[in-house]
Each structure stands twice: as C-alpha cells, then as structure tokens.
Amino acid sequence: MGPHIVSSFDDDLIAVQARISEMGGIAEEMLSGALEAVKNRDAQMAQEVIARDKRLDAIEMEVENLATRVIALRQPMAGDLRLLISALKMASTLERVGDLSKNIARRAVYLANARPVRLSSSIVRMGNQTLGQLTEVLDAFTSRDTALAVSVWKRDVEVDEMYNSIFREVVTYMMEDPRTIGLGSQLLFVAKNLERIGDHSTHLAETIYYIVEGTPLGDDRPKGEPLGLEGY
C-alpha cells in the first residue's frame, strides 16, 4: 500500500500501531515477570508486575482516543478501517492480558509468603507455552504474518489440555491432603489465568488474520475437551 494523499493520516495509523506494539511489549513483560515471580518465589518482582498494569491501562485509553479521532476525521475505508477497528479490539485484549498477568503476580505474592512447595513442573511448562504463544502472535502482528497467527491459533488446544491436566493433578493433591487446599487453589488460579491468556492470544491471532485478509478466520479451530469434573 502506498502512502495516503493526506500524510497526517499515515502518521495517525503509524501511531496507533506503535501503541499496540508497545502494549504488546508491556503485556509480554508482565506475563514473563509474573511467571518468574511464581517460579522464584519473588514477591518484589511480583510487585513490579502489578505496578506496570497502570501503564497498560493508560495506553489503552490513548489507543481508544486516537482511533476514535481518526475514524471521525478520516472516515477510513477497507484496510485502514479494518486496522483501526482491530486496533481497538487488540488494545482491549492486551489490557485483559495485563490484568490476568497482574492476577498471576498477586498469586505469586501469596505463594512467596507461604510454606515452600514443590511447584508442579507442568505449571511452569504451561507458563512457557502461554508466553511463547503471546510472543509469536505479537510478532505475527508486527510482520503481518498470517501463517504464524494461524499456527498460534491452532496451538491453543495445547494450553487447554495442559490446563485440564494441571487441574486434575492439583485437585488430587488437595484431596489427599486438605492442608494444601489454600495453596492448591492459588495454583489453580494461576493455571486458569494462563488458560485465559491463551484464549486471548487466539483472539489476537484471529484479529491479525482479519486485518491482513479481510475475512474472518473461521471457527473450526481444534478445541480441548471441556473440563469434566467426573471422578472428583
């Protein structure tokens, strides 16, 4: 696509995308910091993550104001319209990712102050997988790489399956030893937040696909089995 006849229109679109990328970077750092804090029982790190969330909220507002202004002033069409509408959605999705990461950080504070436990290695793996997918989907946005976006979209099923198995594992612990219930439920919240972040990455992948292709990605995505509570 060539430049717009009105050059300040280009400046505005570049600014919107730069804000989204900045939000993506912050959300990614918050998630990775929260996971470190859980793994290393690092309450200090957790507090830093919690403090960063304000910045994410502020940029989300900026994106909303900027996109609304561009839509009102320029009446964008086609690819420009798709980008702006999608930017609004991505900003709100990334803000949610920030909230969920902040929530994980809060759990990390609890875990850091509680009796040390052998952390389920599967929760660390789930964290890495979730973080990897978020990173990839943000790269897909920067490079407009729909193949990468689709690959993230398809792999969300892995996160769902990890969640299901962690759920079973932790619930088993808690039933065996009721003293672990407090801790176990914190771990379950961490896993649930990771699972939700996985869903948001999927959503981001769909949005990126729409920006580039102009058509929805469809809904025949592989999905995990809904979590059954049978047997517990």
Partner: protein, 265 residues
C-alpha cells in the same frame, strides 16, 4: 465484521433489471467507456464510484439514452432493460426515459408551479384521465419523495422558490411521477447541505422498495451508506464490482483499494 450494513439483505434472488453487455462509448475520438458488462439488480441501490472523468456519468446516461442528445456521442454494445435492447430502432427514447427516470446533480425544477413540475410527465405520457387522477398522482409522488408536508399548502407557487434540498426532492418526485422502473441519480447530493443530504439518502433507501436505483456519487461514505452493490470505474472500465459491504471493507483490486482509502494510485 462481515456485515457492515445492518440493512444488508440477501441479494441473491434479485432479478436483473438492466444488463449491459460489451458497451463502449465514444465522444468523437475519445473512448470514454470500454467494454462494460454489468447487471443492475431490481430493488437494489447500485453506486458508481471512481475518480472524476472515469466515465460514471457517461455510462449512467447510456442507461436511459440521455447520450442521444450529445451529437459527438456514439454508443456500441447492448443495454437490455428487462431483456429488451433499449437502443433498438423501435424504442422511443421519450417513453424509455419515463421508465428509466433521472435526477441530476444540480436540482433543475421547471420554471413552473410545484404542481406543474410533477404533473408535467404524467400529462405528456397520458398516464392520467382526469383532474382527480392527476391530483392523486401529484400528491402520491410528493409524498413518496418525502416533501408533501413541506409543500402541500403552496402547490401553486414556483418550484424554483424552494430550498436546494427541497428542489432536489421535488425533482425526485417529478422523476417518480411517471411511475418509472429505474431511477438514475448523478451526484444528487453534491449541491446539498448535510441535513438535506441525509433526507435524500433516507429517501433513496425507501425508493429501492419500488425501483432499481443507480447513484453516481463522489462520497465514498454515501456509497457505503445507501447502496448494496458498488461498481468502481477507472479510466472507462469497471475495475471492480460487487457487494458494497465487500468493496468497502475488503476490496480486491489494487486500484479500488488506493481510491477508497485515499492513497496515491
């Protein structure tokens, strides 16, 4: 985001009202329209968009043989109205124009009373038998054009005394008084203020219940608002034609993309 227009209806079952097949138009040596094929659907608003001079008005004027009045103009190919060639020697252009009415960019009421502006067409085409019927057609047309309430108490006053937006609705009433099947509009709002424009757009949406409407417009937003089908003209050809929804959210042709997003082509 697949449905931009909430009023989008399924266009599959609309029948073709006008079919253009291999139409070329020349002004002397100028080749203004090149091999245009398009189907204009009934009960549908079709918008023609594209840069100035790309041939939108020229092609629109082919649809009711308005080009006949330009000496240098030569039209080849076929334009079929309900399957019949409108350029056939047996077709009377005046009768044709009663079936395919036209509204122009600049409101052009006759220098006569509001009543006579509307009554003119039905009278010359012998569509009414007596004064009562004529009164009825005039009222119905003015109501249909959403201007009745504003003029009903001054039907004997000159049409030229109305505001621009009222004059344009008067011209629409005049065009529909002959019970046309197709309504052609060449930038009908470009001389109007935003309120008058909104009234005409509202009216266009109403009118498609009864007619096929074709509108040439410079405003992409207007095309997106009022039409269900859009054809993008570029240098005398139709570069892209499809559902308005698709043209404005996901155009296929690079030239369409550049034009509607305001980029250098």
């Amino acid at each position: 985001m697949t449905n931009m227009r909430m009023t989008e209806q399924d266009l599959q079952d609309r029948e073709t009202k006008i079919a253009s097949r291999g139409v070329d138009v020349f002004y002397g040596a100028t080749h203004a329209i090149k091999d245009v094929d398009i189907d204009i659907l009934n009960n549908t608003v079709t918008a023609f968009i594209g840069p100035s001079g790309c041939g939108k008005s020229t092609f629109l004027r082919c649809l009711n043989r308005m080009n006949d009045t330009i000496d240098s103009c030569r039209v080849t190919g076929q334009i079929l109205l309900d399957g019949d060639d409108i350029y056939h020697s047996s077709v009377d252009p005046v009768t044709l124009r009663a079936r395919v009415g036209m509204v122009f960019q600049k409101p052009n009421p006759f220098p006569k009373s509001i009543f006579d502006n509307i009554a003119y067409g039905p009278r010359i085409h012998g569509l009414v038998n007596n004064k009562a019927e004529l009164d009825e057609v005039v009222e119905k047309s003015l109501r249909r054009a959403a201007i009745w309430n504003e003029v009903k108490d001054r039907l004997d006053q000159p049409g030229t005394g109305l505001s621009g937006g009222q004059q344009q609705r008067l011209c629409i009433a005049r065009a529909i008084a002959t019970a046309p099947e197709v309504l052609l509009m060449d930038e009908p709002c470009s001389a109007l203020d935003p309120i008058a424009t909104a009234q005409i757009e509202e009216l266009i949406d109403e009118l498609r219940q009864d007619f096929a409407v074709v509108i040439v417009t410079h405003s992409m937003q207007q095309a997106a608002r009022v039409s269900q089908k859009t054809a993008f003209f570029h240098l005398g050809v139709i570069a892209e034609h499809g559902d308005t929804n698709q043209i404005f959210t996901n155009p296929v042709d690079k030239r369409t993309q550049d034009y509607i997003t305001g980029r250098f082509g």
